[in-house]
């Protein structure tokens, strides 16, 4: 009871506008819907139609975006200061004669204009051929097929863990904002945010694998044994925990922010004045309205997770696809780089769309951007 009022005092201007000011909630922030007066059924049916329309619009939108992104990628690679020959020849870059460099460039098509390379790639793509990765000397489909599942396992588990931790701690901190837990958690988040994931990874290995001996140091299995479910799970613990911890701060702070915001809204004040107990208000009113912007943030900030995965996979010698992003970019391995870039683009767009759909279903006040 008192806590809710304390929260209200903190934010005297506590209305829906607060969400925008907090800076953590993007475009689709809760907005009061325009008032009409049809029946509840009509409203619901219209609402679903709107959501489907949004899904359709956004899916259509993906096509020009991926086309622009991929074309831009090939053009940028061509005009970037990096020479794909450096990646291709590796240490032999220095010893290869200029004449041979010219031959190799010609054979590999490095001297072709970007739109010609791009057009070739597009044609192959529609022919079902993802091309060959020069960095890995393997078909792109094979590179992805062998690595993506491990990344999905690592990143998926870590994200789930991070979301659970962020929700529990974030709600607890937000409900009692200004309390000891809130201040402790917020301070910890700031510290963790400043800690690079590879430092955390090496420290985790030093403590839990070497000093305490509880968990294996790195890799998928011990000493290159064949993977087993139990073995992989044991090896999964440290990288997942480190990746999850590195993702918790921004998630947690977002949850806390929206809980604090919801707490100041009129419907909470109404519930308080009706004498509803604080736990019920938290559970029934504050948490559901706070979740919507949170889901949105998870969708929009997926790239953050990819960056974290790159570092964690490298340190833990996790055979995932994240490292391939770095390798392909460094070597200008266009077939692989293009696939990974477009893949990431599509994932982020679909992720953000799914988040918007969930938010729209959860919160009837949210507009469906039409």
């Amino acid at each position: 009871m008192t806590t809710v009022q304390a929260g209200r005092e903190e934010r005297p201007a506590g209305t829906g506008q607060d969400a925008g000011q907090a800076g953590t909630v993007p475009d689709d922030a809760p907005r009061p819907s325009e008032g009409q007066a049809p029946s509840v059924q009509d409203l619901r049916r219209g609402r679903h139609r709107d959501i489907w329309a949004m899904v359709g619009r956004r899916l259509l939108f993906i096509v020009p975006v991926t086309a622009a992104v991929s074309a831009g990628l090939f053009a940028a690679a061509k005009y970037s200061p990096f020479d794909p020959l450096v990646g291709y020849l590796g240490t032999r870059y220095m010893t290869t004669s200029d004449a041979d460099k010219a031959i190799i460039s010609e054979q590999l098509g490095f001297d072709r204009p970007w739109y010609s390379t791009y057009w070739g790639w597009v044609q192959d793509l529609f022919g079902g051929d993802l091309g060959l990765s020069r960095s890995f000397n393997q078909p792109v489909a094979q590179v992805i097929g062998e690595r993506l599942p491990w990344t999905l396992l690592l990143a998926g588990t870590a994200l789930a863990l991070a979301v659970v931790v962020a929700l529990v701690l974030g709600i607890a901190a937000g409900v009692r904002s200004g309390g000891i837990l809130d201040r402790g958690v917020t301070a910890l988040c700031v510290v963790v945010q400043g800690l690079p994931p590879f430092v955390m990874s090496l420290a985790a290995i030093a403590v839990f694998a070497l000093a305490l001996g509880w968990l294996p140091a790195a890799g998928l299995t011990d000493g290159g044994a064949d993977p087993t479910v139990g073995g992989v799970l044991r090896h999964l613990v440290l990288p997942v925990v480190v990746l999850a911890i590195s993702q918790v701060p921004w998630l947690l702070l977002a949850v806390r922010e929206s809980v604090v915001t919801s707490k100041g809204e009129d419907f909470v004040a109404g519930a308080v004045s009706r004498g509803i107990p604080t736990p019920t208000i938290t559970r029934r009113h504050i948490v559901p309205t706070s979740l919507a912007p949170f889901v949105n943030i998870v969708g929009v900030r997926l790239p953050e997770l990819v960056v974290g995965a790159v570092l964690v996979e490298e340190v833990f010698s996790w055979p995932g696809v994240a490292g391939a992003i770095v390798t392909s970019a460094r070597d200008l391995d266009m077939a692989l780089l293009a696939f990974l870039t477009i893949g990431t683009t599509v994932v982020v767009m679909v992720g953000s769309l799914l988040a918007d759909v969930v938010v729209a279903l959860m919160d009837p006040r949210v507009s469906t951007d039409g």
Partner: protein, 533 residues
């Protein structure tokens, strides 16, 4: 002891893959398998694309192979039946082929495979990374059932160094195409002591070739793990999970004195040094060139940058070259003399401590590849040594393609020793003036545009002569002449450092290592010949 070993083997067999104890036993402790962690990406096992050009590939054999031991390695026949012989002027080399050798796919090895392998490397359609290294070979022809001839474009005495590369079946290169796209990269077919049985992004498993023509290896299984992070390799080594790995010198030193672990440092001809381009008004001045060579405190670089694992360099020829090495060809660290030489040549100290001559300030730009921390540290150490004698060295971290256009005007921190098994492959590209002409060789060949008539003449003698004593004398002359007229500052030769778990194997001893190194080198370069009672 035997009982203990037995228990460990049993543990290894009965523990499901997840246990730490089981895994460490699966390594060198009890079984005949070895697990190594490498910092290099797995796969890319195609000799046509340059894989294993020094004969280190475990799945392939070259026509000849290296003999190990201290000093300069020699050559012994592998897929050749006897050591190849040359005609008088070393332009035609005849190779007799070893009979009764089979590839891992069951097909028989023959002369046509040798011809096909070299033709594929030289075929422009392959876009082979190794092509330039074989540019002396005009053609390889089969002259009998079991003989091939190498016809060269020019006399070339050290051709055996070009016969170390693995031979692939002619069927695998029958269709011309990019070597990078060949299936050999992931499914190698060779005659070597091991065959690849499994390849995934983090692991390559090789098994002993029981039909190997030189006897089946006793180490039956080799597992290579891809562990890109240096610190993680060290930590996995410390946890006892793997049997060996390569580590940078300072990290390797942390294993010194640990029970059951051995730190080994292998000599290489892998040099680091900097170019001093002739066209540069400062770096091209003979007095500056000599002074910088005397001002560089090479031993301090070895102690501080390389953790003690290195040797001082004065020329590209290291001491390990034996009779081809000139012991007198050294630069003693003497900053006082360096200052004297500069002053005598008219480089007078200005108000800010930097020398000036005829209005030209004694400052040079030193470029280095931004991803290489050893080069960065050496460049920094050199810059502070140069500053001490009044020469300002400005460091620039760049990628190779940014260094390219400035290579002949500004100094670059370079590395060499890619093909260290002959003084010619080691020194010719760096010192011969044929590369001063534009469009000859690579722009990184002789980047200083160094020209010395005595050095040139002796390099040609060494390249053409088939008389070992005459060659050795020629290379000593190269060093003698270079010392009086340096065109680079050669700083150090790196020693490559490895950590391995003791397991009671009798090994063949070290071998001189090239620039590229990983766990295919180190104590494991001759894994196939290891024995254990």
């Amino acid at each position: 002891m035997i009982a203990l070993t037995g228990v460990l083997v049993l543990t290894a067999c009965t523990t499901p893959g997840g246990s730490v104890d089981g895994a460490s036993a699966a390594g060198a402790d009890g079984t005949d398998g070895i697990v190594l962690a490498d910092g290099y990406e797995l796969g890319g096992y195609n000799p046509v694309a340059g894989f294993g050009a020094a004969g280190e590939a475990k799945m392939y054999d070259g026509l000849v192979r290296l003999t190990g031991g201290e000093g300069m390695p020699g050559f012994e026949p592998a897929l050749a039946a006897e050591l190849p012989t040359a005609n008088e002027d070393a332009t035609v080399w005849t190779v007799k082929i070893r009979p009764d050798v089979t590839f891992s796919d069951g097909s028989t090895f023959g002369a046509e495979d040798v011809v096909a392998t070299y033709e594929a490397i030289l075929d422009p359609a392959s876009a082979s990374e190794a092509r330039s290294s074989f540019d002396m070979i005009e053609e390889v022809v089969q002259t009998g059932d079991d003989t091939v001839e190498f016809h060269l474009a020019y006399p070339y005495a050290p051709l055996l160094t070009k016969m170390l590369i693995g031979v692939v079946p002619s069927e695998s290169v029958a269709t011309p195409g990019l070597a990078a796209e060949s299936t050999l990269n992931t499914a190698p077919i060779g005659t070597g002591p091991y065959t690849l049985v499994d390849l995934s992004p983090d692991r390559a498993v090789l098994e002993a070739n029981e039909d190997y023509w030189d006897g089946a290896p006793e180490v039956k299984k080799l597992t290579l793990l891809y562990v890109p992070d240096d610190n993680t390799r060290a930590q996995r080594m410390a946890s006892g999970e793997i049997d060996g790995t390569n580590l940078p010198p300072l990290l390797a030193n942390t294993f010194e004195g640990k029970d059951g672990m051995t730190v080994t440092a292998h000599t290489s001809a892998d040099w680091r040094g900097l170019s001093l381009p002739t066209d540069n008004p400062v770096a091209g001045d003979p007095a500056v060139r000599m002074a910088l060579n005397l001002a560089a405190n090479r031993q301090s670089m070895i102690d501080n940058v390389l953790g003690g694992h290195g040797r001082v360099a004065a020329t590209p020829i290291p001491e390990v070259y034996g009779d081809a090495y000139e012991p007198g060809a050294i630069f003693t660290y003497d900053p006082a003399r360096a200052e004297q030489i500069l002053t005598d040549a008219g480089w007078i100290e200005g108000p800010d401590g930097i020398r000036v001559k005829d209005g030209q300030r004694a400052q040079i730009a030193l470029m280095y590849n931004s991803v290489d921390t050893v080069r960065r540290d050496l460049a920094q150490a050199f810059a502070s040594d140069a500053l001490a004698v009044g020469v300002e060295v400005n460091l620039e971290a760049l990628s190779w393609d940014r260094i390219d256009p400035r290579i002949n005007t500004d100094s670059t921190l370079l590395g060499g020793g890619d093909e260290p098994f002959d003084p010619d492959t080691q020194a010719y590209g760096a010192l011969s003036s044929v590369f001063v002409q534009p469009d000859v060789g690579s722009i990184y060949d002789n980047p200083s545009d160094y020209q010395d008539a005595t050095v040139d003449a002796a390099l040609e003698v060494g390249r053409r002569s088939l008389d070992q004593a005459e060659r050795d004398a020629a290379y000593r002359e190269v060093q003698d002449a270079y010392i009086d007229d340096p065109g680079y500052v050669y700083l150090v030769f790196l020693d490559h450092t490895y950590v391995s778990k003791d397991a009671g194997w009798t090994m063949s001893g070290p071998v001189l290592e090239p620039h590229a190194h990983g766990v295919t080198w180190g104590p494991w370069w001759s894994l196939q010949s290891w024995t254990r009672d």
